[in-house]
């Protein structure tokens, strides 16, 4: 078990990631999200924990190295650390002994109808908090069935004066914000979509 990260170690990493603390913090969050995704695709158990471990380890190492760190791109350095963390996690996983009287835990249950309904209520609230033009674009994008939907998307791109790829990207960003808003809203019991969407806007992009 490694010691908790000291504030100055964390600051060293933020400083490497961005010229000021705020930008560094945003890049830290983005980097963490990317790490989680890559660990996930690698089939690692607990990708979020591994992402945190990677960033903590990188922060410690960067502080130790100080001016000896010669790379101009800390993200590549983090990638190297992530690779080691992933390898260690596989090794760890394969050598944990079976405890006495071990009984497997019940697998996580999929969300029930009630949870889904709560998510839908939150989605409605989060959609209502979008700017009207954004809301129109996102609902227009998902409107219709198969062929009709594809035609609708071309029309939408034409109306907005953007390419279809630019529209796809816009929708990806909007749905990312909505997803974060819905998660926060459901975590807060479904009553705080406005604050959740504001929070989502701050952490994405």
């Amino acid at each position: 078990m490694s010691a908790p990260l000291r504030p100055e170690q964390f600051d060293t990493l933020l400083h490497r990631l961005g010229p000021d603390r705020e930008l560094g913090g945003r890049r830290y969050e983005q980097l963490r999200r990317r790490l989680v995704s890559l660990f996930d695709y690698r089939g690692c158990a607990h990708p979020e924990e591994l992402a945190d471990e990677t960033l903590d380890r990188a922060a410690r190492r960067l502080e130790e190295m100080g001016s000896e760190f010669v790379g101009s791109d800390p993200e590549r350095f983090v990638y190297g650390v992530a690779w080691n963390v992933a390898r260690e996690s596989f090794r760890r996983r394969s050598t944990v002994p079976l405890p006495e009287g071990w009984e497997g835990q019940a697998p996580a249950e999929p969300p029930g109808a009630e949870d889904e309904e709560r998510e839908r209520v939150c989605l409605d609230r989060c959609l209502d908090r979008l700017a009207p033009a954004e809301r129109r674009v996102v609902l227009g994008y998902f409107e219709g069935e198969k062929g009709a939907r594809i035609r609708r998307r071309s029309e939408l791109a034409h109306e907005l004066g953007v390419s279809l790829n630019a529209l796809r990207l816009k929708i990806h960003r909007l749905t990312g914000r909505l997803r974060e808003c819905v998660v926060r809203c459901t975590d807060q019991g479904g009553g705080a979509a406005g604050a959740a969407l504001r929070g989502a806007r701050e952490t994405t992009g």
Partner: protein
């Protein structure tokens, strides 16, 4: 933005687990260090989720999606969001009283209801695997090594780097990233051509010879915690095995269907198959669980077997602990 058709194809292959390890490592580095590339991955994932919901993905792709994309809670949430957005958009389009059924026709139930586990298990049945040959694998390996050597001659410095290295060959920034992407793409295309040629050679050899490239190792496990000697049942997976078949001896054979779940040492369920039927042989009935070997590195595991009956809760019948050792 990285939404170029060739790069999108690469990203699709990454999501579906079809990239070779070398390319995968390089792509992962790009995804981690280039926010645009990572955003392109998100767009491709969105598209795959939509194809999945539309039911338009080809069956093999659909299975891979269920196995890789939908296994993550975060990505399953994405599926639910897209489905809810579609429902909402279509409800806005038509008055609610006349609204069509909430789910579009042709939309199959999404994977998180554990149906994917059954689908994957079905896909893993040996009969579905193409026969191939150990000799073919060797020929392929030699061919790929040769191709890799040839490719390496064209490599630019940055792409030859191993993942753990800290040195930065090119300065960061759009131009550096773009060069890296182009090199990766060029390499991917060459690799695709080489692989197609190697696969054609393999196919020709397969038709002449006849041994399977994908071997399946089978082990019988008895119910109970430990063997009489006090040690765990040992499973030694041969290096060339792609699948491990665990034959779970039934303490009692009173259920029409069974569910078998493999748990790792932390207790997490890492593989499961449902609606399994007992194989009845004189004196002993058993249920067979097939597991990819990549899920079984050295360590201790446990299979939990439950009996299924219509309208009743699954009934836990037995556990089968075992240890995977070195081959």
């Amino acid at each position: 933005m990285r939404l170029r058709p060739d790069f999108e194809r690469t990203l699709r292959r990454y999501v579906l687990g079809d990239l070779d390890e070398g390319l995968r490592v390089e792509l992962e580095e790009l995804l981690l260090t280039d926010p645009d590339a990572f955003e392109a991955l998100g767009v491709v994932e969105d598209e795959l989720v939509e194809e999945y919901l539309d039911g338009t993905s080809p069956a093999p792709e659909r299975r891979k999606l269920e196995e890789r994309l939908l296994i993550s809670p975060e990505r399953r949430r994405r599926v639910r969001l897209v489905r809810a957005l579609r429902d909402r958009a279509n409800a806005d389009q038509q008055p609610r009283a006349e609204a069509p059924p909430a789910r579009a026709e042709g939309v199959r139930p999404v994977g998180w209801r554990l149906a994917w586990i059954e689908t994957v298990a079905e896909w893993l049945r040996p009969a579905r695997w193409q026969p191939a040959w150990v000799a073919v694998a060797a020929v392929l390996a030699v061919s790929l090594v040769g191709n890799a050597w040839l490719l390496s001659r064209y490599e630019m410095q940055g792409l030859a780097r191993t993942p753990g290295q800290q040195t930065v060959a090119a300065p960061p920034g759009p131009q550096g990233d773009s060069d890296a992407l182009n090199r990766l793409q060029a390499r991917l295309e060459r690799e695709q051509q080489d692989r197609a040629a190697a696969e054609a050679r393999a196919k020709a050899l397969e038709s002449q010879l006849g041994r399977p490239r994908t071997s399946v190792a089978t082990f019988a496990l008895a119910a109970g915690l430990l063997r009489s000697g006090g040690s765990l049942a040992r499973v030694t997976v041969p290096p060339d095995a792609v699948l491990v078949r665990l034959r779970l001896e039934l303490p009692e054979d009173g259920h029409p269907l069974y569910r078998a779940a493999l748990h790792d040492p932390d207790g997490a369920e890492i593989w499961a198959a449902s609606r399994l039927r007992a194989v009845r042989e004189p004196g002993q009935a058993a249920v067979v669980l097939t597991v990819p070997t990549e899920l079984l590195p050295r360590g201790d595991y446990q299979v939990k077997l439950s009996g299924l009956r219509d309208g009743a809760e699954p009934e836990v019948l037995a556990t089968y602990p075992f240890r995977v050792g070195a081959s």
